[in-house]
């Protein structure tokens, strides 16, 4: 399938090569390695048959639930304009822009992406994407270790638990100490004393549990000890939140799904990475720079290539090659669609709606342990077991949130949720609790 050759074409090509069959192409491969009867796989399906086949699979997902889950991936409104533009075949079916002259489109969008990320977070230099939020944290920790040559990492426990698992995989625990610091009443302890043996301080903003705090003083204290400060930020809240740059962070990383990518069962989304220019030569991944051609035309080109694996090989700043360009393009277009007012509305509406939901829950006798410090996302204490609650809420048409522990569900309210959906959610929850 998708092979264009007719019998006539094949004859001409075989003649050129003086062969009689496709098998003649492989006479140099040892017989023992040739598959005799081909692969043991089902026959092909036509496109029409495939529609039914995948329709059956898709129907097995409970895809119609009203989503109150977050944890880094948010059910925000993704406008059709962003989807259509991102899926333009020139963006979708091109390769890495190694040949700048015929890749100015991708190069300029990525340059705009880098610049938009910098403007949004108040940083100076962003790369052209990493895999996702979790792997971006690990890459940032590697930068800090390379910069400081120290072997300890101070990590807030208020990180997405999967991100912690990825950090534990990617940072060699035989060489580096990962010190997880417990939150105190859902906030990073403001009196925490940093230790000079530490390479990095990693903290989520807001915390995984949804609580948010001004981190300026902690950042200052860490930097006084020569520690590289890394902020894992929820970018779709930056229309309303103080930026990591304003708080003084050295590096920001983010899960960029909520800006430009559908939920996608977690991938492909995009990891953001931005920092100060002093870190430029330690940055992982691709960077696009603005330049001029010989006629002084504005042109864009991949730059600081000497950091990358295809040139530097084992001395590269990271092994990353294929990244998440198309999702970065989605982020750039979505941010441009939103503008300052749209991003503000997105954040402000979600905070108002989450607040309405928290107050309604409390009024109905539920406990929100981090009501005061949380914004769009919060912990809901349930009266039975939280997995059970999530399953039963599923039967009533809701994705109630994410299992946090047996007593708590992590609930997120995006700007997309309607008042009626929130009211119905609480009613359904009460029905479950009342048996």
């Amino acid at each position: 399938m998708f092979v264009p050759h007719s019998e006539l074409d094949l004859k001409k090509m075989f003649d050129e090569l003086s062969i009689n069959s496709l098998d003649d192409l492989f006479t140099h491969i040892p017989d023992a390695l040739l598959l005799e009867n081909g692969l043991d796989l089902p026959e092909s399906l036509s496109e029409l048959e495939s529609i039914d086949y995948f329709d059956d699979i898709a129907a097995r997902n409970k895809s119609d639930l009203v989503c109150f889950a977050g944890g880094g991936h948010y059910d925000v409104y993704l406008p059709q304009t962003v989807k259509s533009l991102t899926m333009r075949p020139e963006f979708m079916t091109s390769y890495t822009p190694y040949q700048a002259e015929i890749s100015q489109g991708i190069l300029q969008v990525l340059f705009e992406f880098q610049s938009l990320v910098c403007d949004l977070t108040d940083m100076e230099l962003a790369n052209a994407s990493l895999y996702d939020g979790a792997t971006s944290i690990a890459e940032a920790i590697s930068v800090a270790i390379n910069k400081t040559k120290r072997d300890g990492v101070t990590i807030s426990s208020g990180l997405n638990p999967n991100s912690k698992e990825v950090i534990n995989t990617l940072i060699d625990k035989n060489k580096f100490n990962l010190n997880y610091v417990e939150l105190d009443n859902y906030l990073f302890p403001s009196d925490y004393d940093f230790d000079e043996s530490q390479a990095a301080f990693v903290v989520s903003y807001p915390h995984y549990e949804g609580s948010c705090q001004d981190l300026t003083e902690l950042v200052t204290k860490a930097k006084d000890k020569g520690i590289v400060t890394i902020c894992y930020v929820d970018p779709s809240m930056l229309g309303v939140l103080t930026t990591p740059g304003q708080m003084g962070f050295d590096i920001i990383v983010a899960e960029g799904q909520s800006l430009g990518s559908p939920l996608s069962f977690g991938g492909p989304t995009v990891g953001w990475f931005a920092t100060k220019k002093e870190f430029a030569r330690l940055v992982p991944g691709r960077l696009i720079g603005e330049s001029r051609d010989k006629d002084n035309n504005k042109s864009y080109v991949m730059t600081l290539r000497a950091r990358e694996q295809d040139i530097r090989r084992e001395k590269a700043s990271s092994n990353i090659c294929t990244n998440q360009t198309l999702n970065a393009i989605g982020s750039a277009i979505h941010l441009s669609w939103l503008g300052p007012e749209g991003l503000y509305d997105m954040g402000y509406h979600s905070i108002q709606k989450a607040n309405y939901m928290k107050k309604s829950l409390i009024k109905n006798g539920y406990v929100i342990p981090n009501d005061d410090s949380s914004l769009r996302e919060f912990l809901l204490e349930v009266k039975t077991n939280s997995s059970e609650v999530i399953n039963k809420m599923g039967d009533k048409g809701f994705l109630a949130g994410i299992y946090y522990d047996d007593q708590h569900v992590l609930v997120a309210v995006t700007e997309k949720r309607k008042k009626t959906e929130i009211d119905d959610y609480i009613e359904a929850l009460q029905e479950i609790d009342n048996g």
């Binding site: 880094g72 996702d132 069962f265 998440q324």
Partner: protein, 501 residues
Amino acid sequence: MVSGGNASSLPLVGGKPEPTIKELSSPGRRASNFPKLDVPEVKINHESLKKEKARLPEVSEHDLVMHYSRLAHRNFAVDLGFYPLGSCTMKYNPRFADSIASDSRFANIHPSMPEEFTQGCLKVMYEIGNYLCEITGMDYASFQPPAGASGELTGLLIIKKYLEINNLINKTEIIVPDSAHGTNPASARMAGFTVVEVETDARGMVNIEKLKEIVNENTAGLMLTNPNTGGLFEEEILTISQIIHNAGGLLYYDGANLNAIVGTSRPGDMGFDIVHSNLHKTFATPHGGGGPGSGPVAVKEFLKDYLPGPIAENKDRKYNWYQPENSIGRMHGYHGNFLVTLRALVYMKLLGKEGLDTLGAYAVLNARYLSSKVSKIIPLAYDEPCMHEFVTSVKDLKKSHKIKAYDVGKALLDKGFHSPTIYFPLIVPEALMFEPTETQSKETLDDLADSLKSIISDLQQEDIVLEDYPKNLPVGRPNELIPAKFLTVNWGDFELLEITE
């Protein structure tokens, strides 16, 4: 007969530079719109809330659409023309797979949903695992790695964990051919191994004698792609496998060149213990301008407990996640690049046994045919039958006419073709590496050869300036030194530079 080409939208969009979205911004404009707030608005006091709005462009929706569409017009793509980029497998990406991946019943699934709610997604991951294992000759697969380099790192971390658990911690060396992809040594270093290079022999294959000299009790494994980066099948692969295994090392297959052998031969049968594959190459998912990809790793039975999880399994007609016992841990925040994985399954279903059995053969046929044509214009680096790609060298033209591989690539752009991969593998001077893939027609291959012939002749003319190529594109060669020296990586950086200069 002609095959089309010379893709350019220049007559439509003009040659003027496209302003940035920031330059198009005008205060008070917006494209976005949201429903009115439907909950009672209250004053919310929180120390993290700011007063000012974010610094973002303000544009109308039409301006936004025109801007990004004009930028799309300034980009070459598989959908526009021939992309003979060696090592990248730029084959046709079926539209149909995109339509399945855009189905909201897949695209709008939250990754933290319990497995009872996501049986469809789990079925996808389970099924493609079976396909991939059969195609590669392996036993178990994990779809955690989001790209090939992540798959390599996964494989190396599996080797490391296997050695640790079997008390073989003296084994710290990973052998990599001098022709290998840069990601191989970079990944090996990230996993904490020492990299040892093995030379390529005059035929373009691993030098067996040198390999024997290098292998010792500290050998942890060998990373290899077969066919190798010269496009040649490593005919002594069974001997290589024996040498590594006799030393107690493991054999890692870099799946970058898997397209060449699908349906013909399998890494598992060659003796490889771990395989990663690039679904965005072999299984036709779109490259997206550099990503997303998907780099699943498959292993032989004895390594299954080390795979990154969670992995989908099928028990009692229900799909579950399981965590392998000695797993190296997660390689991705959730389930890898699921929608890419889904597209690859769609492709495999469309091809089925018939299509997959002949996939590699047609890829090799096209490469062999093109190499036959091209070798009459510029010499091949190796006088061996190529697989799915081949390497040529213009080192003689560089000597006689100062024509570099770089110049040939740039001149081809004017003819409506993407450049082949240049300067890779590193061991071939002035290398040009062609990979046509199986989806290009004979006429397109002929066109490329004809164009190559005409530009090689053009470039040898006395009055031409090599640096002028390409001539017919929106921009000429960008000055690569400016951004590297002055870090003009953010809008405003360049203008600032002009003021200070």
